[in-house]
Symmetry: none
Subunit: 336 residues, 2 copies
């Protein structure tokens, strides 16, 4: 699928969805829309992406594409009206539009009418399906092994780790599928359920449904986790994923040096080893699991400090650990 990615005024640093799509999606990104950087290429902005994909002013300057992806998500998830001409032009060119905003494209009268007129689809990624149900408790019976990334906190690199694990598995000849649970992951995969937006009773069921849909197609499924089991606000989502996915293996994601819950600074983070044990115990009462290893985000550290942090982390969780961006995530797969 050929896609154009809208990231006006925010590429690349405040456009994590756009960068995620460029880095991990199977799509052929034909252009990034950012009126502030028109005339440059992606490689000018993101050093490790050697893409000569052009950054353009708007849809009119982009080569042919099948879908426009909204690759930015302002705080609050609103739709910025300065994007309207591009969305309109994309629809008029016959392209689908994909967005993960709280504001639903399908609820916008103009877009809905235009989409209908031009026979294109408006895909609101953040809307879970209407027909979710409670879990049946069958994920363990699927004919594939399930790896779940879990975290000591939110924003510890679970999505990146999940995608790096899938890629590393494929490089090793393993047939691995990606199970996204958040909006960026869903855009990269092209489908999926935003698990933090489901009815709480159906959280585990939503994950189970994704696994059932994909279980026959792969030998391994790597599930993107969310939040943390020791998070004062988000643990419900984490727990639903943990029990709905019934993972055979866990990978614990942590950011080096983080000592308090992100955004909830009065809550100190427990030792990662305790968090790991709690995940294994909690999952294990429903379906036995084991800690495959750890993923440590060392992006703020020098090479030698990162090495020391990794050694310390491995000791804390009593399992091998890597930084999946600096190193090869595949080292964690040796045990499979």
């Amino acid at each position: 699928m050929r896609v154009a990615v809208l990231a006006h005024e925010q590429f690349p640093d405040r456009a994590k969805t756009a960068v995620g799509v460029l880095r991990y999606a199977d799509h052929d990104v034909v252009a990034v829309l950012d009126r502030d950087s028109a005339g440059t290429t992606v490689a000018d902005h993101v050093a490790d992406l050697d893409a000569d994909t052009p950054v353009v002013e708007g849809v009119a300057d982009a080569p042919a594409f099948d879908a426009l992806v909204v690759g930015i998500a302002p705080i609050g998830g609103g739709f910025d009206d300065s994007w309207r001409p591009d969305v309109r032009a994309a629809i008029e060119r016959g392209a689908d539009v994909v967005a993960g905003l709280h504001y639903l494209l399908n609820d916008d009268a103009e877009f809905a009418r235009l989409a209908d007129e031009h026979g294109v689809e408006l895909r609101d990624i953040r809307r879970p399906p209407d027909d979710l149900t409670v879990a049946e408790g069958v994920a363990r019976e699927l004919d594939c092994e399930v790896v779940l990334t879990v975290g000591t906190d939110c924003s510890t690199g679970k999505m990146t780790t999940t995608l790096e694990l899938v890629e590393a598995a494929r490089e090793r000849g393993l047939d691995a599928g990606f199970v996204p649970t958040g909006q960026t992951g869903i855009m990269i995969a092209g489908s999926g359920i935003p698990v933090d937006r489901t009815v709480s009773d159906f959280t585990a069921g939503a994950v189970e449904r994704m696994l059932r849909e994909r279980g026959d197609d792969h030998d391994y499924l790597v599930v993107e986790g969310q939040g943390s089991i020791v998070h004062p606000a988000y643990s419900a989502v984490t727990c639903g994923i943990l029990h709905g996915a019934m993972p055979d293996h866990l990978v614990l994601c942590h950011e080096a040096g983080r000592e308090a819950v992100h955004g909830y600074e009065s809550f100190s983070l427990p030792d990662p080893g305790r968090v790991a044990a709690l995940y294994v115990d909690l999952a294990g009462e429903v379906a036995p699991t084991e800690l495959l290893g750890g993923a440590l985000n060392t992006s703020g550290l020098t090479e030698s400090d990162a090495e020391a942090a990794l050694a310390e982390y491995e000791a804390a969780i009593d399992a091998p650990a890597v930084d999946p961006v600096r190193q090869d995530a595949g080292e964690l797969l040796e045990e499979l």
Copy 2:
């Protein structure tokens, strides 16, 4: 308010909402609808309710009432179409209809049209407020002590235990408030948020909000728990309540002799002592808590078997335990 309670084919053993309303709500129950037991009375089925309330075939046989309460909740929360004639007849008689199903009466075209036509209200108890948010993590700062009932499974007596604890506390002169989280509790209390129906990201926030609204009015709040932390489908809700409520004290509810997860019989229940430890550990990483005691449902046992089961349960959880229906739940409050 005069109410008729619909409990077709399930009264009393699988009609916990019906029995809860009969036992605890302030309503005048004029009839129970159960086509399997038409011609009997409530007292024929529930020994400790000395109500001569008739059990009838359907709405046509019931005395005048102001509201029809759907008193059964199948797994999944669907609407059974065999109930449709009674709901229709109730509306046509000018009665409101109150239900706590996932299936919303207001979304049913026929019921919505009929209700409009007859000027009655369809009250979907299970619909949460539209303005819920993520938890701020402040429940522990409230000026009251929080007791949370938790369970080894669903349907172990958490709502009953919660209501009995509130009653027992009041009898002892303690200023205790009830925080309902499920449809039956909300029906009994007259207000509350159905926590299993919130957006998963807002589960803890919904509980926190109820505590903040009630915290200044009482010295003690007793929160009705849901599900179980070791449940393959419902643990997300349980975990959200546990971290959103930040309870000072836990009471673990269990049914004597239950060995597998209700409705998920291939999952055996862990030893109650392990479940208790898991609750204390999981809660404790966010806000320290302690096990106040246990509540054991011994309704299926003889008096002497019940005593033996209680002794065994106390040993398993290493804390005092009562059957809050046979005995005085207040014994658990001695420690407060």
